[in-house]
């Protein structure tokens, strides 16, 4: 029985990381593309745009980080 629980936890960790990385990936790529457009339109604001882009990406990344934490919990705190 414990083997099944362990295997399910590992599988769940993999699925959690895989699905959890989808959203932040799409969001961060979208933000970077928009920032590229903005820099191309007005290149004098590039420092501000880059800073805002990095900040927005870091905020968008947080759900991925939560899934990482949950995956680590599943691997190390189960079984």
């Amino acid at each position: 029985m414990e083997v099944i629980v362990r295997a399910a936890a590992l599988l769940g960790a993999g699925v959690c990381m895989g699905i959890g990385a989808l959203g932040p990936g799409i969001g961060q790529g979208y933000v970077a593309g928009k920032a590229c457009e903005g820099i191309a339109r007005s290149s004098e604001n590039s420092a501000l745009l880059t800073r805002t882009m990095l900040l927005g990406q870091a905020v968008a990344e947080s759900t991925g980080i939560y899934s990482l934490v949950i995956a680590l919990l599943l691997i190390f705190a189960t079984g």
Binding site: R51, L54, L55, A58, V59, E61, S62, I65, Y66, L68, V69, L72, F76, A77
Partner: protein, 300 residues
């Protein structure tokens, strides 16, 4: 002893330690000896496999309890007795010793750098002074843009947060045995998150007045008050878990890949990415978010 000799000795010591740490796999253990409950500092052989090391990276305090007696002890061990303070339950080590050690190292480092910088200030700045003046000017501009002209005294708080987190993050790339990033333990980022939230609420009360601050919780209408309350405190959880997850993820990836390639060449580049780039970026993000939370409360 002049500065050049000291720097040469330091670099030589670091190189010797780095070379030694390839063959001799020892770790510096600072903690409580399990049997007699004495405080101990010693070099022990590392009897752990890679899986156990990852587990220790993830839960250092809980793991230290289960770890058995070390196989070999190098050098002399120093034992201290603290009047039975630690020996109340000899089977439990005091928590988070690794974290406290790294935080103390970072604090001493920052104090020494501050002393060296402030020792001789001049109109024509020396190199060290120039670096910190540039950093201060950058964060002063940032504070002026984000919080407004009359909140310039927040620069010291913001720069302190940034310097502390940044040093905590990049100290993991120093190749001493036993050096970890302090932020890879949840307690350090969580403490700083709590501090940031406290500053936000203090500024909110100071700016709006206490009753308007309380009224802010029932913002659209009254039944939403619990949700607003939880939302306020999830700010701190959000920023601290972001920092923790990034640093810990980098540390685990580094550990796994380093053991795959037997610590040759590749970890240096990975250290550059995870230690320097991600460390700097996350420290900056934490600072910017703490500042944005304050700005949201100040500007209606």
């Amino acid at each position: 002893m002049n500065k050049k000799t000291f720097l040469r000795m330091l670099v030589g010591f670091i190189i010797v330690q780095a070379i030694l740490s390839i063959w001799i796999d020892y770790t510096l253990e600072v903690g409580v000896e399990e049997e007699q409950g004495r405080f101990v500092i010693r070099n022990v052989e590392n009897p752990m496999t890679i899986q156990e090391r990852i587990t220790e990276e993830f839960q250092p305090d809980e793991y230290r309890i289960e770890k058995g007696k070390p196989l070999t002890i190098y050098g002399s061990e120093r034992l201290y007795r603290f009047f039975g303070f630690f020996s109340r339950n000899p089977n439990k080590a005091i928590y988070a010793f690794q974290l406290i050690r790294m935080i103390i190292i970072v604090d001493i480092l920052l104090l020494v750098i501050a002393y060296l910088t402030r020792k001789k200030m001049s109109m024509i700045p020396t190199k060290l002074q120039l670096v910190f003046e540039m950093m201060y000017t950058f964060f002063e501009d940032l504070t002026r843009e984000t919080l407004g002209k009359d909140k310039l005294h927040f620069t010291s708080y913001v720069l302190t947060i940034f310097l502390f987190i940044w040093t905590c993050n990049i100290i993991g790339i120093v190749p001493f045995p036993g050096f970890v990033e302090a932020n890879s333990n949840i307690n350090a980022p969580f403490g700083m998150g709590i501090m940031a939230v406290l500053v936000v609420h203090y500024m909110s009360i100071k700016h709006k007045g206490f009753f308007k601050y309380l009224k802010g919780y029932t913002e659209p209408f009254f039944p939403l008050a619990p949700i607003n309350f939880v939302g306020e405190f999830s700010k701190g959880i959000s920023i601290s878990f972001r920092l923790f997850g990034n640093v810990l993820g980098g540390a685990i990836i580094l550990l796994v890949i380093s053991s795959l390639v037997r610590f040759i060449i590749l970890p240096v580049g990975l250290n550059m990415f995870f230690g320097l780039f991600i460390g700097t970026l996350q420290a900056f993000v934490f600072t910017m978010l703490a500042m944005s939370y304050i700005a949201v409360e100040i500007f209606d």
